[in-house]
Amino acid sequence: MVAESQIGRKDGEQRWGAWLRVPALADPKTRAYILRNWSLYAMLAPTLILLAIFAYYPMYGVVMAFQNYNPGLGFVRSPWVGLANFERLFASPAFPRVIGNTLIIAVSKLVTGQIVAIALALLFNEIRHVPFKRTMQNLLYMPHFLSWVVLAGILMDILSPMGLAGKVQQALGMEPIIFLGSNFWFRPVLVVTNLWKEAGWSMIIYLAALLAIDPDLYEAAAIDGADRFQRIRYVAIPGIMTTIILLACLNLGDVLQAGFEQVFNLYNPTVYETGDIIDTYVYRMGLVQAQFGVAAAAGLFKSAIGFVLIVISYRLADRYAGYRIF
């Protein structure tokens, strides 16, 4: 051991010496360049350290999924149990349920969200009265900036018997429906409230694409005798096709993102059957029931599949829409 480390140091000294003797360093311009550029590394250092601690160390922490994790022993010294956590996870009746719920909820939200956003953008694009358009846009964007705690609080009040929905039902002479306690209604509630919060905001990207369409194209279509609907069909929609394809590709990366914050603030044990998703399951298993290994295994399962999906989605977005994140 001692000998090895001495050799190591000697090698190091040699490398260091060689580096100092690099002829280019004698050149004052190069030396000035290096003197100026060390600061680039210094600027990155704080972020790299934070990433190491708060992103990469937790990534290493996925080893918990293969351990009988003991908080006192940590990631490094907890005993290994092989695939036992995964076996327990896959054997649990909750597992197929949360996978199914996650996929169904995420896909219904993504599909409805995008279709409504596109339709809204096309309708907004036909409005010429700018103050009206802007006011309505700002009204529809607003829920995006409110937290799910606030929105769920408002929703629970609306859906209560003395709330707005209760009053409407009363006026119509209907039996009051317990939306948040019904396995039939829970998913539709998630889809609709997701539209309430995000549809307006998602429209922004399509509006921007619509604004980028050359007005001459509309003009030319009109001269050729295209009416309003034909211009939407043959000019506006093809004009935003790249954007539509791009978002469709990127959305593929999100099919396991059913929306923890939304579900967690709206669900309760009655609707676990239709509303419990991977993220809420991980939370309850890990932080409520202290089944760290099983929870970490479920989390790793999601992260790993999510990783593959995101990589595929970026590949597709690059190929079909020329999209690069950097």
């Binding site: 680039l40 309505m136 606030v150 629970m156 707005l164 990207i205 509309y218 603030n265």
Partner: protein
């Protein structure tokens, strides 16, 4: 733009305006309803007599909030995390985006660092390992648990792309005049990127204000809850028995009007900065609002 004067066109316009007006009102209605309930007395609210106008108008709900030390404390914690968190994340984003905006030729190792950053967008350790890291670092019940890791890869990428639009000549001239990278960044890049930085600041502030889950898991003592987390215990987690009961909280559990007032108080700061936010929506899109 093309203008036609036939009846189908007019009909479409009328329908379209009415439809969109309806949607706008639909988006606004819950908030008006909430405000009306919060300004009504509790009997009227509990009786379900309030729709869009307060019944038996009163400020009593807001007065009991102002008088509650628990809410006041939670509000201050939220302000603290928002100010501190936004400032730190903005500073880190700026000093990270600058070196990464250089080409790999100018800044050796740039691509490796870039991948280290981007990889955090593709894969994550997940909730449980992250919680264990925060706990083992002794950050539970400290404001730092709510502020770290402080830098979002998306913000860095957005600002980096913005920095790349800065004309090269400006930087070369500055460097020739003997300016350091540090000076170039703060005297040339930052002043030219004010719209991008303002956008990131506003969005970071909204994010911090709205965050509640980190408060819920990292604060084991609910005296350390930020406002949104506290609000959750009152308006959603009605059955929570582990929480020390504040008088206002006990009232709120049973009083609809008080609950409405609390929700409204938590949204006021967002409404206050909303006019500023609006101005930066366009910058947001330009920066690539694809990923909110």
């Amino acid at each position: 733009m093309v203008r036609e004067k036939d009846w189908r066109n007019t009909l479409f316009d009328v329908f379209n305006h009415v439809f969109i007006l309806g949607l706008g009102l639909l988006a606004l209605a819950p908030l008006i309803n909430l405000l009306a309930i919060s300004l009504s007395n509790s009997a009227a609210a509990m009786g379900g007599y309030v729709t869009f106008w307060p019944v038996n108008f009163t400020f009593e709900n807001y007065l009991s909030i102002v008088k509650s030390p628990a809410i006041y404390r939670a509000f201050l914690i939220s302000v603290e995390r928002t100010v501190l968190g936004t400032a730190i994340s903005l500073f880190l984003t700026i000093i990270t985006a600058y070196p990464l905006s250089k080409s790999a030729r100018e800044f050796k190792g740039r691509n490796i660092f870039m991948w280290l950053l981007v990889f955090t967008l593709l894969f994550e350790g997940g909730l449980i390992p992250y919680f264990m890291v925060i706990r083992s670092l002794g950050l539970l019940n400290t404001i730092w648990a709510l502020i770290v890791p402080g830098v979002s890869a998306w913000s860095v990428i957005l600002l980096m792309n913005f920095f790349r639009e800065v004309p090269r000549e400006l930087e070369e001239a500055a460097l020739l005049d003997g300016a350091s990278h540090w000076q170039t960044l703060w005297r040339i890049y930052v002043p030219l990127s004010v719209p991008a930085i303002a956008t990131l600041a506003l969005f970071a502030a909204v994010w911090h204000w709205n965050a509640w889950f980190d408060g819920m898991i990292f604060m084991t003592d609910n005296a350390n809850y930020p406002l949104q987390t506290y609000l959750r215990t009152v308006v959603i987690d009605l059955n929570s028995t582990t929480i020390q009961m504040d008088v206002t909280k006990v009232d709120a559990l049973s009083q609809r009007a008080l609950r409405a007032a609390m929700i409204f108080v938590a949204t006021v700061p967002i409404m206050l900065i909303y006019p500023f936010l609006q101005r930066y929506f366009v910058t947001g899109i330009k920066l690539g609002a694809v990923k909110g």
